[in-house]
């Protein structure tokens, strides 16, 4: 409850409303044992109100009033909830004054209802409800004050008077309640004292009142203070009425705030009093009075807002408010024109009370104040401190997720930096500015400032300029320069590191890499001269790693795209050299990387040299050895391509030797070296595969068979384990070559042995034989290899029927290729690529279209579907209403799927209606689902929907691809469905492209359809121009001799289109149109008559 109260208070203060009372009323304390459903429901409703879900909240509380799950005694709380909701709505400026007034009235009505129906008149809810009445009144006044400011003249005067009367009345009532509670407190105090005297004990000091009484006392004080603060706001500032109202509020507040010296009303009250005094101060021209009022403001803030010493504050609310008061104090000083006093009077006090403010400030109040103070510091020519402070604030606030504070501080920082300009800033300030923008996430700007830093790193003192200054100023400049010189390395390293990070944030990896690579040659040798050697040493080492990783990323990206570029390789080599320089521990890994770069660049010999230096105990030894073999293999294949037989032989030998060397290498492994062993064996197994490729190319059958056998002997058991799953498929490659090799050697028995061997391997732990109609438990990839091998053996045993049959059956049993439903496959493919990859989308779309022709060969037959047989099949025994509504839904479904006289089918609607129909009969009890047309109906509807979707998507793609025959099919469907002009233009164009009089006629009809709605406007001009083009095209497509009349007819039709336009809209005629006219006329003239 306390915490809730605290948070509510913070919210209340922040938005300067009377939310606190609402919060009190809104959240009744949980029951002693635990919250009941009624409590949760009420709290949830209030949460909805506070989050702005007004409609839902209204429905929720309305339901609450009658919800049987809520105990009857609790239900009136629904009225309280509604009152709070309507009060909130009354405050919303999006409603008119009249609507807001109505909401406030509804709020009061509901509150009255609550107070009448609430059975427990002593409950906290009831008591807070009583205060809530005034809360609503005051909110009402608050809303009116906003409206009054829009008025002027007599209307304003009248409204002011009326509103002031209302508020005065509310204040008087509140004062009465306040007085009554005071009397209650006094009576209670007397009672306690009397009891203590009777018991011979000392009364408690300070007096402890019942919690409920304390809460009421606090609530009424808070509302009253708010009312006084609001009162002057009714009047126009500077007027006599305003001044009088300020006086009245001051007196009223002073009269009671002092009584609240144990709660937060004391702090609030102090702030309000200071604000009112500030109004007064602004209103007077007398310097003496002004000065006196300034003094009073100071006294008031110290007497009230800062009354509770920071070390005595125990509640979060108090602690927060006290910090908040510093900001209010600064704001007031700024209002009365005493900005210069903010640092001495506010900031000094603040940092004294909160020395660790950067870490501890509550809700970022210190960050707001610090940002304001930094701006003042910048005005006082202390830009560096200001920038440093703002940077620290931004960093800290960012880390604490206080983004509004980050924004506030960043805005201040931006103003300072823009004003100073980079030229006027020294290198350290520029660095801070860069950091500020970086923290703000503005990497672009940050980079700009870091670049200024880099430009200024080499700046020297201008002796000539210095000579013009006084000796004292010269000394000052020299001292500053010397100080800076000591930090220049630190600054440089930081700037380059940050630049690299900023570029990386912007996704500019190459630029990030260039910046990171720059640090080591520039600063590594100077690192011992840095001011903070340890930090800079670490930073440089880190940059070594960053540069390497970035360079590798860039290099690998270029390698993946088959565009290994030299620049990327050079950058990576540079990064590798740098990294070795700054961190000797990574030497052997980097040597490997160097070899890898050479290998990727096709420099296999240098790569081999690098790999050879990797020691046996290195993690990368296995990879290096494999890569050596691979490089020899590549050298061999390259030499072969170049027809260099001598080199081919030389490298072939080296490749085979190196591979055999790895395969036969004996290595011993100790405890804790399991990972290294695994890595080694995986690579060694890969060497088998590589050697197999070479043997296979060379037709070395016997060696191939031995190699496969050797692999099986070495890895058969290991390959089945989880740790070695990467090598599990290696024997497939080996035996895929060795079985045919044995067959080529005419050694059928060996081939069979080999087959058995690999079969035993792939079926290890599974059924070794299965019935003829069953499949072996293998994956698709393995199955395919085995099918191939069994097929080869079946072929080899052509003369041996038993064996041939056996191996033929083996091909069936290993043929485990599973085919998904092709419709789903293409549908998924289409959905995946639609809008992303036109070619693939079109391909999938066309495949689907072919299927639709088959799947939708039997369309929905409207007559059958509307038949009695079908409608009667929808019947829910004993539930006529349900039957009727389901039949209506069915009819709607048929309308949607088959279309009506005026409308084509609406498949999306059909799908929805069908879903509703299925929901009405979730267990498919009615017979309709068994009728032929309705079997698999959901899927059929999906086909219709999908076809439309496919056609719509692919129609422009088909046009683009120039497949006009197909475009006609697709577009005719789309046009019939959507009737859109854009599709009609495309369809007409497709007809034209196909050509032929029939198609031109169809195109002419489509243009006619487009033209019809715009016949009375100039919009017809471009359409007619297209028609003219079409007719001309048509005429030209005909045989001028055999179809002379038709040619002339169409050409003249084209001319008529242009003539029509010229007559009606001469101003719309363009030179192109006239050119077309000339062309047609010339064409007609050229026809032999």
């Amino acid at each position: 409850m306390r915490v809730f109260l605290a948070l509510s208070l913070i919210l209340a203060f922040t938005v300067c409303t009377f939310q606190i009372r609402a919060a009190r009323a809104e959240a009744p304390p949980p029951a002693a044992v635990g919250k009941t459903l009624a409590d949760y429901e009420y709290d949830f409703g209030i949460w909805l109100v506070n989050r702005g879900f007004e409609k839902l909240a209204e429905a929720h509380f309305t339901k609450y009033l009658t919800d049987p799950k809520i105990p009857a005694a609790k239900r009136p709380m629904g009225y309280l909830g509604l009152a709070i909701l309507y009060k909130r709505l009354g405050k919303l400026p999006r409603f008119s004054a009249k609507e807001r007034e109505a909401y406030f009235q509804k709020a009061l009505d509901n509150l009255t209802e609550f107070l009448t129906k609430c059975t427990d008149k002593n409950s906290p809810e009831y008591r807070s409800g009583l205060v809530e009445q005034y809360g609503i009144q005051i909110e009402r006044v608050g809303a009116k004050v906003a409206d009054i400011s829009k008025l002027s003249g007599d209307a304003r005067k009248a409204e002011e008077t009326k509103t002031a009367e209302e508020l005065k009345k509310a204040i008087a009532d509140l004062k009465d309640i306040h007085d009554k509670i005071r009397e209650e407190r006094e009576a209670y105090e007397q009672k306690v004292i009397a009891e203590c005297e009777a018991n011979g004990t000392e009364p408690p000091e300070p007096m402890v009142y019942p919690e409920e009484m304390e809460e009421r006392w606090y609530m009424i004080g808070f509302v009253l203070a708010q009312a006084y603060r609001l009162y002057p706001e009714i009047y126009l500032r500077g007027t006599d009425d305003f001044k009088k109202a300020v006086e009245m509020s001051l007196l009223g507040l002073q009269d009671f705030v002092w009584e609240h010296d144990s709660d937060t009303v004391y702090i609030y009250g102090g702030m309000y009093l200071a604000e009112l005094l500030a109004y007064k101060c602004l209103g007077t021209k007398d310097p003496k009075e002004k000065e006196a009022l300034r003094g009073k403001i100071d006294d008031t803030m110290n007497q009230y807002a800062f009354f509770f010493p920071v070390e005595n504050i125990t509640t979060d609310t108090m602690a927060y408010l006290r910090e908040k008061a510093f900001n209010k104090y600064a704001e007031i000083l700024a209002t009365i024109g005493s900005t210069d006093l903010i640092i001495p009077k506010v900031w000094t006090l603040y940092v004294r009370d909160y020395p660790n403010w950067l870490e501890t400030t509550m809700f970022g109040e210190g960050y707001t104040l610090g940002s304001v103070v930094a701006a003042i510091m910048a005005d006082n020519n202390d830009a560096l401190t200001a920038v440093e402070m703002l940077t620290s604030i931004i960093n800290k606030a960012q880390l604490r997720n206080m983004f509004d504070k980050v924004t506030f501080a960043s805005q201040k920082l931006a103003v300072i930096i823009e004003r100073l300009g980079p030229e006027a800033m020294d290198v350290k300030t520029l660095l801070q500015a860069g950091k500020g923008f970086k923290a703000k996430g503005d990497s672009d700007k940050a980079i700009r400032y870091y670049q200024y830093v880099i430009q200024k790193l080499d700046v020297k003192l201008d002796e000539e300029e210095l000579g013009k200054l006084s000796p004292a100023e010269q000394k000052k400049r020299r001292d500053k320069f010397e100080l800076l010189k000591k930090e220049i390395i630190d600054i440089g390293v930081e700037a380059f590191s940050d630049i690299s990070e900023c570029f990386k944030d912007l996704g500019l990896t190459v630029e990030a890499l260039t910046a990171a690579n720059e640090i080591i040659p520039r600063y590594y040798s100077l690192k011992d001269n840095a001011k903070d050697k340890e930090k800079i040493g670490l930073l440089i080492r880190r940059q070594g790693s960053v540069a390497f990783n970035l360079a590798r990323e860039v290099f690998m990206a270029s390698a993946k795209s088959d565009r290994v570029n030299k620049m990327a390789a050079q950058q990576l080599m540079l990064a590798i050299d740098n990294y070795i320089k700054v961190d000797p521990n990574v030497r052997s890994r980097m040597v490997y990387e160097r070899g890898f770069v050479h290998q990727q660049m096709g420099s296999y010999l240098p790569a081999i040299e690098s790999y050879k230096t990797i020691p046996q105990d290195d993690d990368k030894f296995g990879d290096a050895q494999y890569n050596i073999c691979f490089c020899f293999f590549k050298l061999m294949t390259d030499a072969k391509t170049a027809n260099d037989e001598a080199k081919t032989q030389e490298y072939q030998k080296m490749a085979i030797d190196s591979l055999a060397n790895v395969i036969n290498m004996e290595r011993k492994w100790g405890p804790g070296q399991e990972a290294k062993q695994r890595s080694w064996e995986r690579k060694r197994s890969q060497c088998f595969v590589l050697l197999c490729t070479i043997y296979n190319n060379l037709g070395m059958g016997k060696e191939l068979i031995d190699l496969s056998d050797k692999w099986m002997a070495m890895y058969k058991d290991l390959a089945g384990t989880k740790e070695y799953k990467e090598i599990a498929n290696h024997p497939l490659s080996l035996y895929k070559a060795s079985v045919p090799a044995a067959l080529a050697l005419k050694d059928l028995a060996k081939a069979e042995d080999q087959y058995k061997s690999i079969k035993g391997y792939v079926l290890a732990g599974k059924a070794a034989e299965v019935a003829e109609d069953k499949k072996y438990d293998v994956n698709e990839e393995t199955g395919q290899v085995m099918v191939e091998l069994a097929g080869k053996l079946a072929e080899a045993f052509a003369a041996d029927e038993a064996k041939r049959t056996f191996y033929t059956h083996e091909t069936d049993k290993f043929n485990v290729v599973v085919r998904d439903d092709p419709y789903d496959v293409y549908k998924n493919e289409f959905m995946k690529y639609a809008g992303k990859n036109d070619d693939l989308a079109l391909r999938a779309g066309r495949k689907l279209d072919k299927m639709f022709d088959r799947l939708l060969a039997v369309p929905f037959d409207e007559k059958v579907m509307r038949s009695k047989e079908y409608t009667d099949a929808i019947y829910f025994a004993g539930d006529a209403a349900k039957t009727e509504s389901a039949r209506a839904l069915y009819s709607k479904f048929v309308d949607a799927i088959c279309g009506t006289k005026d409308k084509v089918g609406n498949y999306a609607a059909a799908s929805r209606t069908l879903a509703e129909l299925m929901a009405a009969d979730p267990e498919s009890k009615t017979d309709i689902w068994r009728k032929p047309m309705m079997l698999d109906v959901k899927r059929k509807v999906d086909f219709y929907n999908m076809r439309l979707n496919v056609y719509k998507t692919i129609s422009p793609l088909v046009m683009k691809a120039g497949d006009y025959e197909y475009a006609v099919k697709v577009l005719e469907y789309v046009v019939a469905y959507y009737h859109k002009d854009a599709d009609k233009y495309d369809l007409a164009m497709a007809y034209r492209k196909i050509g032929g009089s029939d198609n031109y006629k169809l195109a002419a009809i489509l243009y006619g359809q487009i033209l019809a709605p715009v016949l009375k406007s100039k919009e017809q001009v471009p359409i007619r121009y297209i028609c003219a083009q079409m007719y001309f095209e048509w005429a030209k497509s005909l045989d001028p001799v055999k179809e002379k009349e038709e040619v002339i007819k169409q050409a003249e039709a084209g001319l008529r289109q242009i003539a029509n336009m010229q007559a009606q809209y001469p101003q719309e005629i363009t030179p192109e149109m006239l050119r077309l006219k000339d062309q047609i006329e010339a064409f007609i003239a050229s026809i032999p008559r």
């Binding site: 948070l7 949830f44 989050r51 409609k55 997720n401 983004f403 879903a915 979730p922």
Partner: protein, 375 residues
């Protein structure tokens, strides 16, 4: 983070809460230390103090007491390492990423035997809590591989199983759970039970629904820790829900909803939010958008404003609720024909989206998802 696994967070989240709720008394290794126990009711108790001589995953040794079973001790508070304390403070302040760095610093600088265990564990846990599963797995794997004696061994196995399941590595998850089951008589009961619940979840992940239902119903009678019981009930509901999604069986959805409604009706704020979330998701997936909207907001309410969560709101979970609220409203908007009602729905969608853009929700995965999907 995969929603399926979220409920598995619950005890972990509670544990994290414990770890960061307790401050550290100034004790040194071998001196008096505070033991945090996880009671079967789900509450945490730090009533016992003793001289800790050493601790490992199977036993704990105190001066004067000799070797004794760890029982329900889940955390020992040492307060002697300033860097470690700084990191814990950062965790409690919600500065998770900064805390991870501080744990690393503490581990590099400190010499105490417990530091690498605790720091690596907390790095894993913190990464896990902010959704960086791969980083969390790396830390946890490091911890159990390098320090098989570490006191968090079974708990780490559970974490790893959870993460592996999320990553689809079912065999690896199974191995972790078996490692706990193999020493069920030695490890703390809470983690043994946790592993049993996770085993049920693994069966769900393997789509062995009937087995999962049997397993979960079977263990429910034997689970002694209230949070584990609750977790197993969620798993059961989740099993029905996944089955519904997988087989399009509306009855399975109904069963799932029934399970979650039962949980919500208990008015336990630690589980209510999650139950509301699940109901909302089920209703959304079965096109009851109005119902889904109401329950989704209830979830957001519980996670941010209820007594149990108000002090440290779970915005991640709340954002999931708001996601379903937004999606449901969007679906209703699409369905609505009346222009005025459409406008009202638009306003409500805006409220939800604005909330998701606000400071506490901005950039959370569900917020981003909602904002991307609803334009």
């Amino acid at each position: 983070m995969n929603t399926t696994l979220k409920i598995a967070f619950l005890p972990f989240a509670l544990l994290s809460f414990v770890a960061l709720s307790f401050f550290f008394s100034p004790v040194a290794w071998g001196e008096q230390a505070t033991l945090v126990k996880w009671l079967k009711s789900g509450a945490f108790d730090r009533s016992r103090t003793a001289d800790v001589v050493s601790e490992d995953c199977e036993s704990i040794t105190y001066t004067g007491l000799g070797k004794q079973a760890r029982g329900d001790v889940i955390f020992i508070e040492y307060g002697t390492n300033a860097d470690y304390n700084t990191a814990e403070k950062q965790v409690s302040d919600g500065e998770d990423r900064a805390a991870i760095k501080s744990f690393q610093t503490a581990m590099e600088k400190g010499k105490e035997e417990w530091l690498p265990w605790y720091c690596t564990f907390r790095i894993g846990e913190t990464n896990y809590n902010i959704g960086l599963a791969a980083e969390a797995a790396k830390a946890f794997e490091d911890l159990n591989n390098k320090y098989p004696r570490n006191p968090f061994y079974p708990q780490v196995c559970c974490y790893l199983a959870d993460i592996y399941m999320m990553q689809g590595k079912k065999d690896e998850a199974d191995a972790q759970l078996k490692a706990v089951a193999a020493k069920a008589n030695v490890f703390q009961v809470c983690w043994v039970e946790k592993a049993q619940v996770l085993q049920g979840r693994l069966l769900i992940a393997k789509k062995q629904y009937q087995e999962a239902i049997r397993h979960l119903k079977n263990i429910q009678g034997r689970l002694t820790y209230a949070p584990m019981l609750s977790d197993s009930r969620f798993a059961l509901g989740e099993c029905y829900e996944t089955m519904g999604a997988d087989t399009k069986d509306i009855n399975a959805y109904k069963e799932a909803s029934k399970v979650f409604e039962g949980i919500a009706a208990e008015l336990d704020e630690n589980t209510m939010g999650e139950a509301y979330l699940r109901i909302s998701r089920i209703l959304y997936n079965t096109s009851d958008y109005e119902g889904a909207y109401g329950f989704a907001l209830r979830a957001a309410f519980i996670y941010t404003a209820s007594k149990a969560w108000a002090d440290s709101p779970n915005y991640l979970k709340a954002s999931e609720g708001l996601y379903y609220a937004a999606k449901s409203l969007f679906a209703l908007f699409g369905r609505e024909k009346d222009a005025a009602k459409k406008d009202a729905l638009k306003l409500e969608i805006r409220i939800v989206l604005d909330l998701l853009k606000s400071r506490n929700y901005a950039n959370l995965p569900w917020s981003t998802k909602a904002l991307n999907e609803i334009k």
